[in-house]
Amino acid sequence: MSSQLAFHVDLSSCTGCKACQMACIDKNDLELGQRWRRVYEFTGGDWVKMGNAYINSVFTYFTSVSCQHCEDPICVNVCPSGAMHKREDGIVLVDTQKCLGCRYCEWACPYGSPQYNPTLGKMGKCNFCYDLIDAGGKPACVEACPMRALDFGPLDEMVARYGDLRDPAPLPISSITHPSVIFTPHRNTYPAGSNEGQIANKEEV
């Protein structure tokens, strides 16, 4: 049995509302600029005028992204101080006592998950709300989602229930770090690396 915890994100019913992001900010008292969970808008397609009408192939879907709590976490591998570590249940955590604030992890992570906190001079990141789940609760983001598009649980259970899509665009391919987040695709979901769309809300993520 896998001891790795995982998130599930249902892109087919995510409206991109950011309740998850705001619940995370509130739970973790994050300063402006720190977004341990954030929502990417991936938009593509075109408008073509045909006579009086506009034909379009425009699409958008939203992808809520936190730390992927990877099975092979590159942030842990590059951390020179041993601050970045993995718990027994697979949660990737920063030990702020050990963190030097060198930002190697930030540089290495393809998901932008470890984020530098200039006030503390340390790294911060999604910690799966381990304090809440250790007490039997849910991560703040999961419990906040008005569309019930977020879920969490053991990775093998999540895969059994939701399939095994791990790298929808605009995320990077999953073979780099083996992320522990499972996605249900939106009807417009493209695979990682797709040029069919772009991140359309860069200033928000």
Partner: protein
């Protein structure tokens, strides 16, 4: 009481130490393996306590005036809110958890925001200049009372106007507290209708005889097709969980389609298909769908013959000549213009083939829902758009059947109600349409029933007796930011020869409060006891206890008004000796009487809310459908009136037609003004705020920055790149803000989200995207409603 309930209650009400947690967790550890999922609630409550030792979880509500009313669970430590969490309840179809949106999750930041108003402020500079000095509460209350008394003595009560506002949230906060006070001292000139639904509320009864023509949301689970017409429940929150019910309908196999000029959040997360059209052309698309349906014989003739007046020339009211029926209009038998998909393509920008497919799907995938959003009726001819939409539901016979939808206002029948602070009776009978209130400042005495919609004049009275001399805004921004044509309204507010005194109860220095002569700092709903109830689907009663003490010198509106009442000699009548807590108890007592299942106050407070729904699917048109003779509608004919003789008799066929018609808008898609201002304005409810509430909060700005959302082709044609500063303008005003270049708007459409706070620079140019510097003060023809969605602009790179 079950063990779970006991745990929940205990944990919510008691300050837990880590030690006691360990004791509890031992108990739970022993039972968890046996009890399964039901324990989640209790465990959840415990972790809240342990995450922050000596932390107390207090359930309250989120009572912004969006469409929802949600639960917020505050975590309080040493008298300070340290976190807000979500309703942990399991979802059931009857009572899904009341999960809050981003606005609720940002509320802690709002409560403690550094710019909260801390003490009463008296104006020192010119009105609107924003210069104030701190004064004491004693002085503030004396000034407020003496100004009210003096205007009343000098001009009469009709010279006092309480400006609409909806942000109070609970009964001890907000406009109702001031209305009660003013009514005790002779009243004030009030307004009727509202900024949200003026046209849809006015128009729907002409067809159905009622606004209550809707059904419960679980009815959608029986639908095969849901047409979300200009409807964006994910962003405007049309009832807590309404979008969740749409999701449930999809899981049952319903196909969902969004029609909107913008690829809205609902179009992304709730729909299988998105059909963009030019703003203000909805009725043209609707009419062309009717053309397809009628010409392909997909309409329900049997239903129309039995239940409907005015579909075809054989069923027109007496005295109306053939050629005036709905069918004649659609087929063009009289005006020579068949409302074909090709005709509509030229107006709406929607390809004719798409229209044909849309019409067939809606008519054939029955039962089907056509749900009308409200943005499309806040437009130049909103009334006729509403009736055009209803007409599609009627001709397809989707009225009063399981899984169908009558369209229009579509309220479901009213469930049990709570009590609440009565506003009493207003002795001043005069009312004007809400969108006409600024006229009261400078031309009240010229306003007429015919032109301006004045009501309540006495026998022999031709005009209102006086202009308004005192304005009072409580928990709202209708005084300026949320009304149309800000620059014009601001000029009238600033003119000290018009209104003599402006009183504002607020929590922040809003653009509207800047025009006050006296600002009274009100506390938030976290700082006083109250209670709230939802307004649309089912009945959700939410307890809103005092979570923390009022910050700084702020007070609940109820207390502020009681103090003014004291100066005016009516305190006893005002409070009847009741505290805010007493008012909550009164409210609950009424609810308990209305619903025998309503819990005791203690139980209510423990869960934090009580959710009531109709026990099964409930369609308010079902009785009429079952037997139209025994259960006639409240229309003149007792039937559905696709043709309204009442509207016909008004004699204004160009603006108030007797049937649902497409009427080209002023400042719309075909207005010659587009040669000067080519872009069609759009303003949507933005996730970052409820109306204008929370616009000033940095968490919200970070998540959802205020931008001019411009289509990529329009941007390219103007040399505008994403993030460029742009100037958006028309004859009424201009704003400069960053552009967001997007493919999610139809070409030709620019979206300035509503609710941005007006921030004029030294040249009067708005710097924060307050859309109402661009909107018109005209009113709609029938409802005297607010067409704030209809405006044209041009954009250029700065």
């Amino acid at each position: 009481m079950s063990k779970d309930d006991l745990l929940t209650k205990t944990l919510k009400d008691t300050v837990l130490t880590r030690r006691s947690f360990l004791k509890w967790s031992g108990v739970l550890g022993g039972t968890a393996a046996l009890a399964g999922g039901g324990l989640k609630f209790g465990l959840k409550a415990i972790e809240r306590a342990t995450a922050q030792p000596a932390e107390k979880a207090i359930a309250t509500g989120c009572a912004h005036n969006c469409g929802g009313r949600c639960q917020l669970i505050t975590h309080v430590k040493d008298g300070v809110i340290v976190r807000i969490s979500s309703d942990p309840s399991e979802d059931t179809l009857e009572a899904p958890a009341l999960r809050a949106c981003v606005r609720g999750h940002a509320y802690r930041r709002r409560v403690y925001y550094p710019t909260r108003l801390q003490y009463p402020l008296k104006r020192t500079g010119k009105r609107g200049e924003g210069k104030f000095e701190r004064i004491s509460w004693d002085d503030a209350i004396s000034i407020a009372a003496s100004q009210i008394q003096s205007v009343k003595d000098k001009y009469g009560n009709a010279a006092i106007h309480l400006v609409a506002g909806s942000a109070g949230g609970s009964q001890t906060l907000g406009i109702g507290t001031a209305a009660r006070l003013l009514n005790l001292i002779g009243g004030y000139i009030d307004t009727y209708n509202n900024y949200s639904w003026a046209c849809i509320q006015k128009a729907t009864p002409y067809v159905y005889g009622t606004q209550t023509c809707g059904a419960t949301r679980n009815d959608w689970l029986k639908s095969k097709y849901i047409l979300m017409w200009g409807w964006n429940p994910a962003e405007m929150i049309d009832g807590t969980n309404t979008m969740w019910y749409v999701k449930q309908a999809r899981l049952q196999g319903a196909k969902t389609v969004v029609i909107d000029p913008r690829l809205s959040m609902s179009a992304v997360g709730l729909a299988d298909q998105w059909i963009p059209l030019y703003p203000g052309t909805d009725a043209a698309l609707m009419s062309s769908m009717a053309y397809v349906i009628i010409s392909e014989n997909l309409h329900d003739q049997e239903f129309l013959d039995k239940y409907v007046v005015g579909f075809d020339d054989d069923h027109l009211p007496e005295g109306v000549l053939a050629g005036n029926s709905y069918k004649s209009y659609i087929l063009g038998t009289k005006d020579g213009v068949p409302k074909t998909p090709q005709w509509a393509e030229a107006i709406t920008g929607v390809p004719a083939e798409t229209i044909v497919q849309l019409a067939r799907d809606y008519a054939m995938l029955k039962p089907s829902v056509l749900y009308q959003g409200y943005g499309m009726q806040r437009r130049a001819y909103g009334e006729s758009t509403v009736i055009s939409g209803i007409s599609l539901a009627v001709i397809t016979g989707n009225v009063g059947i399981p899984g169908g939808w009558a369209s229009g206002m579509a309220f479901e029948p009213v469930g049990p109600q709570g009590g609440g602070l009565s506003t009493g009776n207003n002795p001043v009978t005069y009312k004007v349409p809400r969108y006409k209130w600024p006229d009261l400042m400078y031309r009240a005495t010229e306003m007429t029933p015919e032109e301006d919609g004045v009501v309540g004049l006495g026998p022999g009275e031709k005009h209102l007796p006086t202009n308004v001399k005192l304005l009072w805004q409580v928990a709202g921004q209708s005084m300026l930011n949320q009304h149309g044509d800000i620059n014009f309204v601001a000029s009238k507010l600033a003119d000290e020869s018009l209104v003599e005194f402006i009183l504002v109860n607020e929590q922040f220095m809003t653009p509207s409060s800047k025009y006050a002569d006296l600002i009274l700092p009100a506390c938030t709903w976290m700082e006083t006891s109250g209670v709230t109830k939802n307004w649309k689907y089912g009945a959700t009663f939410i307890n809103m206890p005092k979570v923390i003490e009022p910050l700084y010198e702020s007070k609940p509106d109820y207390e502020i008004c009681a103090e003014i009442a004291n100066k005016l000699g009516v305190e006893q009548d005002y409070t009847q000796g009741k505290t805010a807590d007493d008012l909550v108890q009164d409210w609950v007592a009424v609810a308990q009487k209305a619903d025998p299942n309503f819990p005791s106050y203690e139980e209510f407070a423990s869960k934090g809310y009580y959710q009531w729904q109709f026990p099964d699917i409930h369609d308010s048109m079902a009785d009429f459908r079952a037997d139209p003779v025994a259960n006639p509608l409240q229309t003149p004919s007792g039937k559905i009136e696709l043709f309204s003789k009442t509207l016909w008799d008004m004699g204004k066929p160009d603006s108030i037609p007797a049937i649902g018609k497409y009427i080209p808008e002023w400042e719309g898609v075909s207005d010659p003004m587009r040669s000067k201002y080519p872009l069609l304005g759009l303003t949507h409810h933005y996730m970052r705020h409820s109306h204008s509430t929370e616009d000033n909060i940095d968490w919200n700005e970070e998540a959802w920055p205020q931008r001019a959302f411009i289509n990529n082709l329009d941007a390219e044609a103007r040399g505008i790149k994403d993030g460029d500063m742009v100037r958006v303008y028309n004859d009424r005003g201009e704003m400069i803000l960053p552009a967001r270049v997007t493919k999610r708007n139809m070409p030709g459409v620019i979206d300035i989200p509503s609710g941005g706070w007006w921030d004029p620079d030294q040249n009067g140019i708005d710097r924060h995207g307050a859309v109402n510097i661009l909107t018109s003060l005209r009113v709609t023809p029938l409802a005297f409603g607010n067409p704030q969605g209809t405006f044209l602009v041009e954009v250029e790179k700065v």
